[in-house]
């Protein structure tokens, strides 16, 4: 495993401690012997191929998968016995866009377990929902059906739900999947802004160059942790090969690491150009 560079944040105390965890579903382990520490203020990207265990790792932090070995601590308390106070944004692909629900109702869902004595959302719940919607610039869309929003606005609505109870830890499952470049940029800037407001962020992503390369810390996963560190240290052909089980080339451009995810020309009319970047 790559030795990580020291974290560059003011806080040093861990918010998440994953200790020798083997976890999965229905008795089948997806991740084995995983250990990871996320410190307060970190902005961490989980990277890996489909089915490698990124989402499982994210869900282990919420105590939502079976831990066969080891333990996960959030704020020093085991998720086996305490439901951690985290904000979670699921993949938007899993949302039923035909469900009759407005943006405000989606956001207030994040307050469901906050006031168990009241069967309906209280005035305080509405106030907090309004506040977070204003902060994320979707207050004027409160009465709209979620399907009527653009991709960026939908992502903001589900982010608002995750943030409405002011969690200090935000977990996001592929927040930039299937959105255009502008929306992706907007979502990443929003997350960056939240991170600067002391929200610790852990997100999964498939996008190496456009997302992961810009994060301060990435963790490569392939049914276990292959490597973790700053992108410039982690994105090497060796580590990426072990992560993706595929030949991936890496090049440097003006101090940035660029990964040639598929250095080929496809199609019978494609010229036989060697697109392979210079190896490190």
């Amino acid at each position: 495993m790559l030795h990580p560079i020291p974290h560059q944040y003011e806080h040093e105390e861990p918010i998440v401690e994953i200790k020798d965890v083997t976890c999965g579903y229905d008795g089948s382990p997806v991740l084995r012997d995983v250990s990871l520490v996320v410190k307060r203020g970190d902005f961490v990207g989980l990277l890996g191929p489909s089915g490698s265990g990124k989402t499982t790792l994210l869900r282990s932090i919420m105590g939502a998968v079976s831990l066969y070995e080891g333990d996960v601590l959030v704020d020093g308390r085991s998720v086996r016995t305490n439901r951690p106070r985290v904000g979670y944004v699921p993949q938007l692909e899993t949302i039923d866009w035909n469900f009759p629900v407005t943006v405000e109702q989606v956001v207030m869902m994040g307050r469901t377990s906050e006031s168990v004595l009241f069967p309906w959302f209280s005035g305080r719940d509405r106030g907090m929902a309004r506040q977070i919607m204003e902060r994320l610039s979707i207050a004027d869309l409160a009465g709209r059906h979620i399907r009527e929003l653009s991709g960026g606005q939908q992502q903001r609505a589900f982010l608002a739900r995750a943030l409405v109870s002011s969690p200090r830890l935000l977990l996001l499952d592929e927040p930039t999947m299937g959105v255009d470049i502008k929306t992706r940029d907007e979502v990443m800037h929003l997350l960056d802004e939240l991170n600067h407001q002391d929200v610790t962020i852990v997100m999964t992503t498939h996008e190496i160059n456009s997302v992961a390369a810009h994060l301060p810390w990435v963790v490569c996963i392939n049914h276990g942790i292959v490597a973790e560190g700053a992108p410039n240290d982690v994105f090497t052909p060796q580590i990426l090969r072990r992560t993706y089980d595929a030949e991936i080339h890496v090049t440097r451009y003006r101090g940035m690491t660029l990964v040639a995810e598929s250095p080929h020309v496809f199609g019978r009319n494609g010229r036989k150009t060697d697109m392979t970047p210079e190896r490190e």
Binding site: Y25, D26, R59, M62, A64, R83, Y88, P90, T94, I95, D96, F99, P100, V101, T102, Q105, V106, M108, M109, G110, T112, S113, P119, W120, F121, S137, D140, L141, G143, R144, H145, R147, E148, L149, S150, G151, G152, Q153, D180, K182, T183, E186
Partner: protein, 255 residues
């Protein structure tokens, strides 16, 4: 969610027959049977490899088949289940009416008390669990209420008609609103209109009350579908000539 109402009504028929054969009170026997069927469906779908529709199909048809098998085995009981199969709204007793009233009030209180939990669980059951919502209990509670509603409606509408009466009012309301709260209120109003309109239709057209209520509901659904389709087409038409007001609020994210 719509299919579980349809499936449970068939499953409860099996329970009704079993409770008759075993000389158990119909309301209790059929309710317990329906509740257990709903729990079995939930347990089956949690296996991940089986979809909810398949689980509902297996559990409820097996339960219904058991009822039919028992009827064919004990042929003397056959006539008694005509009302359970096809309904008889004009022949309900004061006791049936009292049971319907009690269950209706209980269901209303359950929805009121569990509103926000039901909303989140219905929208994203798995994610709701991550947010501390006891989705399993909410599902079980909903199954219990649904089973009770179906049991007391069995004598009125019958198994074959009850599914339509459960599904059509919320679907009509859904066509007319995008808001969950409005849909809750709207489906109650549509259900009441369907019941009243269907009974009047059955009197004037001289057909059975159960089918009349369902056909009236279906007609209302066609009207609502037609209305929303025309509204959408008009909106699209206006858009084609550049006069349509966009439904998306302009912002700096998308064009």
């Amino acid at each position: 969610m719509a299919y579980i109402g349809h499936g449970l009504s068939h499953a409860i028929f099996g329970g009704a027959v079993v409770s008759y054969v075993m000389s158990i009170n119909f309301l209790i026997g059929a309710s317990v049977w329906g509740f257990l069927s709903a729990l079995l469906i939930n347990l089956t779908t949690r296996q991940r490899r089986i979809g909810a529709d398949a689980a509902i199909g297996i559990v409820t048809t097996a339960s219904f088949a058991m009822g039919v098998a028992l009827i064919s085995r004990f042929k003397t009981f056959t006539r008694s289940f005509d009302a359970a199969l096809f309904g008889n709204v004009l022949g309900i007793s004061d006791g049936d009416l009292a049971a319907v009233t009690v269950v209706a009030l209980t269901a209303a209180v359950a929805v009121f008390l569990g509103y926000k939990y039901l909303l989140f669980t219905a929208f994203e059951p798995e994610i709701a669990r991550f947010y501390g919502v006891p989705s399993g209990w909410v599902d079980a509670g909903l199954a219990l209420v649904l089973a009770a509603v179906i049991v007391v409606s069995l004598q009125v509408l019958g198994v074959t008609m009850i599914a339509a009466a459960l599904v059509i009012p919320p679907v009509v309301a859904r066509l007319l609103t995008n808001d969950f709260n409005m849909m809750l209120v709207g489906s109650i109003i549509v259900g009441a209109v369907c019941g009243l309109g269907g009974l009047y239709a059955s009197f004037y057209v001289d057909v059975s009350s159960g089918p009349a209520v369902v056909l009236f509901s279906a007609a209302l659904f066609v009207l609502a579908l037609g209305y929303t389709s025309i509204r959408r087409r008009l909106a699209t038409g206006r858009g084609r000539f550049g006069r349509r007001r966009s439904t998306a609020v302009p912002d700096d994210t998308d064009t």
